[in-house]
Symmetry: C2
Subunit: 196 residues, 2 copies
Amino acid sequence: MADSIDRLIEEFNKLPGIGKKTAQRLAFHVLRIKKEEAENLAQAIMDVKEKIRYCSLCFNITEKDPCKICADKKRDRSLICVVEESKDVLAVEKTGQYNGAYHVLGGVLSPLDNIGPEDLKIKELLNRLKQKGVKEVILATNPSTEGEATAIYLAKLIKPLGIKVTRIARGLPSGGALEYADVNTLANAIEGRVEF
Amino acid sequence: MADSIDRLIEEFNKLPGIGKKTAQRLAFHVLRIKKEEAENLAQAIMDVKEKIRYCSLCFNITEKDPCKICADKKRDRSLICVVEESKDVLAVEKTGQYNGAYHVLGGVLSPLDNIGPEDLKIKELLNRLKQKGVKEVILATNPSTEGEATAIYLAKLIKPLGIKVTRIARGLPSGGALEYADVNTLANAIEGRVEF
């Protein structure tokens, strides 16, 4: 075939979860769409690389520093939700239930991958906690082995500062069934039971 | 979130088979990769729109006119395989079993979608057949209702030119089972049986 279509198939194929067949389908789609539409896609890809920075306060991705959330005066800055990645901020924001600030660690502690505390924005989190009137830190790392370990590590560092530290609840997902829950999830749900 | 990441999610979401969640995953992937890698992807998209032309002989996509296959002197030009789309050329080429030329119709007859003979490269196919020493035309449109109808239509036009017209075989796919074959497939397999 034409070299440029082969190269586009190859480039799409490099994206996560995009196999050879899907990459081919996408490349032929690009061939079919209007030039402006293809330009929009190419431009959006480049814009992300050129415009996106990290917020100097919460380390969420942003185009302006500080980010929209940190700059928003209606948000409760006495509450900080600590998450692993920017996409977790997006997930929490979608609930519409949270009105505090965030702190994006940029990953989790993972000795096997050589990721220690100095590789995450932990020092920056502690500096934020020392300076401002923060009342509560919600540890919202994932309920994975690394996420749990990171939460425990952070709790140990934050508690001595006299700030309330909480962890997001672990239990059965909404719509889930006891029958199909794994052992850890069910154990967490029982351990974390709340009074009716 | 940042506008540019929202826009990239939206652009990915426009691609076929890419839902909201996958688009988000892809956008965050682009955010993570090196700038050069993102540039390669954006450039590959634009290259396809800028460099790809249609071959003036077979109407396959190409960067040079005539295309590699039409320009290749080792290919048997007395044999023309008629397909619906460029990706079908790719599929036939992958078999490694075909050494003739191609003719890409650019679609199939579909009265419901207002696609008639004048919307396909049929006139161009007949001109090719009149000029050159073509001995056989293989009709390799898809075994769908429209593909079959297009093949029948073409056969009626080509036969009077004194050229052999063949249709790709329809039957059980390799690795298939009679038990699971649909009625039409099995009927075709019986009808198209060949002597042992």
